[in-house]
């Protein structure tokens, strides 16, 4: 719900939530499904409203006011998802080994409260950009997360940045390959390249003309 993009939502917020839910004893499959559905609803009913914006751009109409209908559609589904999918969670939360005990057992006393600083910075910047735009310019969500990450280097447990980056790339590559495949599928289905080729042929121009036309349009 914070990021507005389904895959990013799972990799950021999902990665924060997953260890706690697993500690509560939620089955892995149900938790993965919970995160996946949460990612979709986060994309639909967040501030980003990515598919709604896609329609707006492609139809080229100044449609506004997606917030209410998408909230009406997304929030009840999100609440239902949160209540039904984590089946054994309520019993575990309210049992003797409840939420507080599990969280305390999993906390790392060496880092103290400073480990929450990156989270506070990210949420604070997101709120400030919208609340006081005259003082805090909108420098984009990616930069907000970069600032949060830089803050995490000094406040959390010590990590080797090189090793973490290598591990991150290794984990992300399969997903990136899927995204490239999906992108190719979209380009084929929307005839993106073929349209340019057809226009070039119609105007009896060369490939260079087509490239120039594409660059200037």
């Amino acid at each position: 719900m914070l990021t507005g993009l389904s895959s990013v939502c799972i990799l950021t917020t999902g990665a924060l939530v997953a260890p706690a839910m697993l500690a509560f004893g939620m089955p892995r499959k149900a938790l993965a499904a919970f995160l996946a559905i949460g990612g979709v609803l986060g994309m639909i009913a967040s501030t980003g409203q990515y598919p709604g914006d896609d329609y707006r751009w492609r139809v080229d109409m100044p449609y506004i006011g997606f917030e209410k209908p998408l909230l009406l559609a997304g929030r009840p589904l999100g609440v239902r998802n949160g209540c039904v999918l984590p089946r054994p969670l309520p019993e575990l939360v309210f049992s003797r080994t409840g939420c507080l005990q599990i969280c305390l057992r999993r906390s790392t006393p060496s880092t103290g409260r400073s480990c929450f600083l990156p989270l506070v910075i990210v949420i604070g910047l997101m709120v400030a950009i919208r609340a006081v735009p005259q003082w805090v310019p909108d420098f984009g969500i990616p930069l907000v997360f970069v600032i949060g990450t830089l803050a995490a280097v000094g406040t959390g447990e010590r990590v080797g940045l090189g090793a973490v980056a290598r591990e991150g790339i290794r984990d992300a590559l399969p997903v990136m390959s899927i995204l490239v495949g999906v992108g190719m599928l979209v380009q084929i289905m929307t005839l993106t390249g073929v349209r340019g080729f057809a226009r070039c042929q119609r105007s009896r121009g060369s490939l260079g003309d087509a490239v120039c036309w594409h660059w200037h349009s």
Binding site: S6, S7, I10, L11, G14, A15, A18, L22, R28, K29, A30, L31, A32, A33, F34, L35, A36, I37, G39, V40, L41, M43, I44, Q49, Y50, P51, G52, D54, Y55, R56, R58, V59, M61, Y63, I64, G65, F66, K68, P69, L70, L72, A73, G74, P76, L77, R80, N81, V84, L85, D171, P174, V175, I178, L179, G181, V182, L185, V186, M189, T190
Partner: protein
């Protein structure tokens, strides 16, 4: 729509013609319903993108097992999207959208 395997593909390839087909109704509500249905494309095969990512985060390898687990919420979202489209005028008037 979700059979395209990507929210972007669903919205771009099928969503736009659908939206044009429903011109004259409440377009904001129609686009919202289509957005909800198109968003489910990220869960669908062949890429199973969100199932793969969710599985990666929790350490579960069976992406189709995750999809099976998410089937009821998917159907609920699909129904909700269809209802938004079917009752676009009434719901739009109720919400003051469009």
């Amino acid at each position: 729509m979700p059979a395209f395997g990507s929210a972007y593909a669903s919205a771009s390839v099928v969503g736009i013609p659908f939206l044009f087909a429903f011109l004259g109704h409440n377009e904001i509500m129609i686009a919202s319903g289509l957005s909800l249905i198109a968003g489910l494309g990220d869960l669908m095969p062949p890429p199973l993108l969100l199932c793969v990512l969710g599985g990666q985060v929790v350490g579960e390898k069976s992406s189709f097992g995750i999809l099976k687990e998410a089937l009821i919420p998917i159907l609920a979202a699909e129904t909700c999207g269809i209802l938004l489209i079917a009752y676009s005028r009434e719901l739009g008037a109720f919400l003051g959208a469009g």
